[in-house]
C-alpha cells in the first residue's frame, strides 16, 4: 500500500497566519452550494495535490476546513466549493466578488493517483463529495492514457442538487470517461437514474482485480459503497475514503480531528480503507 505523499511547508510562523485571497468570481451551484474562485493577494499561487484542503478564514467570524475543488495544474486560481451548513459557511455564502478571505494550507493527505496508474480508476461521489474529487478527476483526464477505465459514479439527493453541471456535461461527452449520475428521488421530468449510488456499481464495468476506488461523500454512503466494492472482489487496500472531522487548526495541534489514533488533518483526510474499517464499526469514536 503506497504512503500518501504530502508536500509540507514547515515555515514555523506562517502556518498560524492566513494569507489573504481575493474573490474573483462566485458561482451558485445549487441553493446551498456555491463555488468561489480566488487569487492570492501576494501573487504566489497555492500549489496543492488533489485531496488536500485549506482552512478558510472569514474576517471576524471564524475558520472552516474546505477541500480544494479546482484544477491542480492551474494553481494561480484557487477554487473552493462550499456548502452553507453553519456560521462560517453561511457567511461565505454572502461573499461577493472583490471580498477577501484568509487561507491557510494546503493541508492533509492526497488521493493516491500514482497508485492507480495502470489500473481502472473508479471515482464515487456522494453529494458535495464530488468537490474534493474534482481535482483528481481533472488530473486523471490530463494523464488519461496512464489508466485503464475511468469511471465516475455520482449520487445526490435530487436533480436540483447536482453540482458541476458543466463539467459533467463535458465529461459525459468523452468516450474514454464513463459517467453515471443518480439521485435519491426525482419528479417525473428527470430522465436519469433514480436510486442510491451503490446501485450503480454493478452497472459500471471495471476489472475488480485491477481497480482503485476513490470514494467521497457522507460516511454512511462511503461505508455502503465500500461494501459493494468488496462484494465485487476489489482488494480493500485499493479503496480510499476522504474523511471529515471537526478541525480548529488543520495542522495536528488542536486535537479536535482525532479519529482513533489518526489526526484527520494530517494522516487524512484521504485514508486507505483498511485503516478505517475497524474504527468505523465503533460507535461514537
Amino acid at each position: 500500500m503506497p504512503e500518501a505523499d504530502v508536500v509540507l511547508d514547515t515555515t514555523v510562523e506562517s502556518h498560524f497566519i492566513p494569507r489573504p485571497f481575493r474573490v474573483l468570481r462566485t458561482k451558485r451551484e445549487t441553493h446551498d452550494v456555491f463555488t468561489l474562485e480566488l487569487k492570492p493577494e501576494d501573487g504566489s499561487p497555492l500549489s496543492f495535490r488533489p485531496g488536500q484542503f485549506n482552512m478558510m478564514y472569514v474576517h471576524g467570524i471564524g475558520e472552516v476546513p474546505i477541500s480544494i475543488s479546482g484544477n491542480p495544474a492551474k494553481p494561480e486560481t484557487l477554487v473552493h466549493t462550499v456548502r452553507a451548513v453553519g456560521g462560517v459557511t453561511f457567511a461565505v455564502r454572502s461573499i461577493h466578488r472583490g471580498d477577501i478571505l484568509g487561507i491557510r494550507g494546503p493541508y492533509g493527505s492526497v488521493w493516491p493517483i500514482e497508485a492507480a496508474v495502470g489500473s481502472d480508476l473508479v471515482v464515487v461521489a456522494g453529494g458535495i463529495g464530488l468537490a474534493p474529487l474534482r481535482p483528481v478527476i481533472y488530473e486523471a483526464l490530463a494523464r488519461r492514457q496512464q489508466f485503464g477505465k475511468l469511471i465516475l459514479l455520482y449520487g445526490t439527493r435530487e436533480p436540483e442538487d447536482i453540482i458541476f453541471e458543466k463539467d459533467l456535461e463535458e465529461w459525459r461527452a468523452r468516450f474514454d470517461f464513463h459517467v453515471f449520475v443518480t439521485v435519491d428521488r426525482a419528479i417525473g421530468n428527470w430522465k436519469g437514474h433514480v436510486g442510491v449510488v451503490t446501485g450503480l456499481l454493478p452497472k459500471a464495468s471495471f476489472d475488480p482485480a485491477n481497480t482503485l476506488a476513490m470514494i467521497c461523500g457522507p460516511e454512511v454512503m462511503m461505508r455502503f459503497t465500500a461494501m459493494e466494492f468488496l462484494k465485487l472482489g476489489v482488494d480493500p487496500a485499493q479503496i480510499y475514503f476522504s474523511m471529515e472531522r471537526n478541525m480548529k487548526c488543520g495542522i495536528g495541534l488542536c486535537g479536535h480531528c482525532q479519529f482513533g489514533p489518526y489526526f484527520v488533518c494530517r494522516e487524512g483526510p484521504v485514508f486507505p480503507y483498511p485503516r478505517l474499517k475497524q474504527l468505523m464499526t465503533v460507535r461514537e469514536i
Binding site: D184, G188, V196, G199, K203, G217, V220
Partner: protein, 153 residues
C-alpha cells in the same frame, strides 16, 4: 414457448436453476415489449405478471398531487420488476413508466403461483432468488430514506 428457454437460462435471475424447474418456468413465460413513455402497469392494478428486463429502462413512480409523479427507483437491463404477484391481494404498489424501449420476459403470475403450490421445490428456488433481490432493494431504500445528502441544519 420453446425459444424462450435459452433466453431465460441466461438471465441472471435464473442462474443455476435446475433444468427441470427452468422448464416449468418457461411454460409461464412470454416475450413482451413496451414502447418508451408507455406504462407497464399502474398502482392498484392486478399484478398479473412479473418482468425480467432484457433491454431498456423503467422508472418506478408514485403519483403525488403536489409534485406530480415521484420517481423512487429506475431499473434497467438484467433487473427484475415486481414481487407483488407473490403477496396477496396481488396488486401493484406503484406505476412503472418506460423511459427507454423495453424488451422483457413476462412471467404469468397465476401460472407460476399454481406451479409453485404444486411443487414446493420450485417455489423455494424462486423465493430464494427473489429474497436476494428484495434484500438489495430494501437496503437501497433504507439508504435513500436516511437522506444522507441532507444537511440536518
Amino acid at each position: 414457448m420453446e425459444t424462450l428457454k435459452p433466453i431465460l437460462s441466461q438471465h441472471p435471475f435464473f442462474k443455476d436453476l435446475q433444468p427441470e424447474y427452468l422448464e416449468l418456468v418457461t411454460g409461464c413465460a412470454s416475450n413482451v415489449r413496451f414502447d418508451a413513455d408507455s406504462y407497464m402497469f399502474h398502482e392498484g392494478e392486478e399484478a398479473g405478471h412479473f418482468y425480467l428486463l432484457r433491454t431498456g429502462n423503467v422508472a418506478l413512480e408514485i403519483a403525488t398531487p403536489d409534485r406530480g409523479p415521484m420517481v423512487i427507483q429506475t431499473l434497467g437491463e438484467g433487473e427484475l420488476i415486481g414481487w407483488s404477484w407473490l403477496v396477496p391481494p396481488y396488486t401493484w404498489h406503484f406505476d412503472a413508466r418506460v423511459t427507454e424501449l423495453v424488451r422483457a420476459i413476462a412471467l404469468d403470475a397465476t401460472c407460476l403461483r399454481k406451479k409453485c403450490e404444486a411443487d414446493h421445490h420450485l417455489g423455494y428456488e424462486l423465493l430464494k432468488r427473489l429474497t436476494v433481490m428484495m434484500e438489495q432493494r430494501l437496503a437501497a431504500t433504507r439508504l435513500q430514506l436516511l437522506d444522507v445528502y441532507g444537511t440536518n441544519a
